[in-house]
Symmetry: none
Subunit: 396 residues, 2 copies
């Protein structure tokens, strides 16, 4: 409930914008491009009023007709508050506006699912903008092998240990292993669901979902109580892709849903990566095929994941000209030192020099700059990664 105002006390005190968006989220099954366009045009409050009255263009009516009379906004917000969840709306500071910018160009190219969500139900203490500042999606087969499980949890751990948010879908197999790895590193992790944040699906992951909600965030477009459905997972995948800088497919059969997330990531201009595996394993067939087709970059671990994402950032040249991230503007050496820092364990300059492969003197001159930028924190036994929350929204 942190960072959210207006959800305490009586539901009637809820601000009209939040209520309008809660209503619209239940009325229209995402993605609803015509409705989203109308909301962008005339604002959520007026849009909600017109939808309620049925006084909308045909395309919007088609998206809202079936459920426009179901106004459960107050009840949904109430239910959410009761389980410690909140509705994050684009008008909030924590709205992940920057990652969602990618929907625009994709929509312009005719990608029909490339629609920004009208709002997001969130359960967990972390802020969405901070979680998505430096994030990698780790996805893959439900029927993972022990190899896939191992690689996904390692990757989850190593990413989270470096302060990178591990985004996934909380499914059995690769998803769960990635979340668990992140939790083991006490690092940030975010699960985007194809059902309500209270639904407890899959049932075997109720405990895992609870731990994610305690340490990171469960996120969904679907109002509390919404059951999972196959098409919802596919629609959900666009958010996994959008909320991360790149997507790593760890294991995937020939027809795994992970291909869908990978395709979404590609269409949103994100880096698509895949972990290779034995050609004798059906669960690696999808990954190997993505790599062979040039649709995914081969990665063998966290270092190559970070390299792959970094390289794209440079190629596009966007961060340098429009600073959005705290690490923008760092030169390659500074970046390497920064990447060697850990969130929890303090490291000596010596250790950092070895890990980053940067001369000690250079490390010593870089660290104060990183500290000044709020990226590194000096402590008794050395240096560690500074918490991003220290920067607040102003850092972006």
């Amino acid at each position: 409930m942190s960072g959210v105002s207006g959800l305490s006390g009586a539901v009637d005190a809820v601000d009209p914008v939040r209520a309008a968006r809660a209503y619209l989220l239940r009325v229209a099954e995402p993605p609803a491009p015509a409705l989203a366009a109308m909301v962008a045009r005339c604002g959520p409050v007026q849009a909600a009023a017109r939808v309620r009255d049925g006084e909308v263009p045909a395309a919007v009516l088609a998206e809202t007709q079936a459920r426009r009379c179901v106004d459960r906004a107050a009840a949904d917000l109430h239910a959410a508050a009761a389980l410690g969840a909140r509705l994050v709306v684009p008008e909030d500071d924590e709205w992940p506006a920057w990652p969602f910018i990618a929907f625009g160009p994709a929509a312009a190219r005719g990608v029909d699912w490339a629609v920004e969500p009208l709002a997001l139900w969130v359960r967990g203490p972390a802020r969405l903008d901070e979680l998505s500042t430096r994030a990698v999606a780790v996805v893959g087969a439900r029927a993972a092998t022990s190899y896939g499980d191992h690689v996904a949890s390692e990757l989850g751990y190593e990413l989270a240990d470096r302060g990178v948010t591990v985004v996934s879908g909380a499914a059995y197999g690769i998803d769960g292993a990635a979340h668990r790895g992140a939790l083991a590193a006490a690092g940030p992790t975010l699960a985007v669901l194809g059902c309500g944040v209270d639904y407890g699906y899959p049932s075997g992951h109720v405990g895992l979902l609870g731990r994610i909600a305690e340490n990171g965030a469960l996120v969904s477009e679907y109002p509390p109580g919404t059951p999972p459905a196959r098409h919802r997972f596919l629609i959900r995948n666009r958010l996994i892709a959008a909320l991360s800088d790149g997507t790593v497919v760890v294991e995937a059969g020939a027809r795994s849903g992970a291909h869908n997330t990978a395709a979404a990531a590609r269409q949103l201009g994100r880096v698509v990566m895949a972990v290779p595996g034995p050609v004798t394993s059906g669960m690696s067939r999808g990954c190997n095929a993505l790599i062979r087709a040039g649709e995914a970059v081969l990665v063998d671990g966290v270092q190559q994941v970070l390299e792959s994402i970094g390289r794209l950032g440079e190629d596009l040249g966007s961060p340098a000209t429009t600073p959005q991230r705290p690490t923008d503007g760092l030169d390659p050496v500074e970046l390497r030192v920064h990447e060697a820092l850990r969130a929890r364990a303090a490291r000596t300059a010596d250790w950092l020099a070895r890990d980053a492969g940067v001369p000690l003197e250079l490390v010593r001159s870089v660290l104060p700059k990183l500290e000044h930028l709020g990226l590194a924190q000096r402590c008794e036994s050395g240096w560690r990664l500074a918490r991003l929350s220290r920067h607040g929204a102003g850092a972006r």
Copy 2:
């Protein structure tokens, strides 16, 4: 001994060309670019005589000085005949002239090892030209895992079963598995050795070497009795690469010699392929790295190997399917030299160099290739354009 004349009966009956090349192979450690150029210029017999007398340019002397007094040609040919081996020379019908054309362009780009062998010691019933018509190299780590062994022998079997020659180096691990797979399919296989064809190295593969010699061919630049040496394996690798349409690396550690073969294949314009493997396996690190770097195409089995090779063949305009001009496939330098040739008047290399504006050394290395292609004709007073009618329009 099939297809070989002149090796029966007394060694004295051996033709002078074969004796000269046998002598030169023992005198100079391959690759000996200056010697090769001299042999191309003045023929093997005259070149051998001049080397014997030490009346050669400094570069050739440097390559031949140490062993020029060791004339064991007759003994080597005798020893080879005794064990059922033969010396195949460029003047023989079975010389793999077509695959070796690739050395020309590579040498023109400054690749110093890109030197065609002066001759090849061969033990086995198969003809070199036939073995190399449709061939794939399968190489990799000595310390292969059971995964690598399995994939290599499967690949060897499937390729051989389709009539594709499996080329490798007869080493422990991947090489051996590939050969064994080919033998199991009763298909063609060719081992290129870094020692004499009689040396029996590695010792644990004496049985395997024998079976290859019975069914395919053992091939080496090194005279009978030559022990293996590390540098010989590296030099040998260029022949593995050249004698096949593409090279598949099945397993390779970060510093495996397979990287060397892959690099040679790339520089010779061959398709380089790699089999991915678990990122948790050190023996797959090299393969995964080649794929990640874009230096190898990922292949998961025989079908993708054939596709990868076929695709390149199509791109280049496969000679077999689309008859084109004999000069197709020449690089710009080769084209310029070819254009400087005249049909009736013989021209010296000097004259051609001036007319084509190509350095003399380069002209000298290009002319033998043009000769192999049937595009140039050597004559007493120099070189002239070969009559195309010799090959007929269907030759290419």
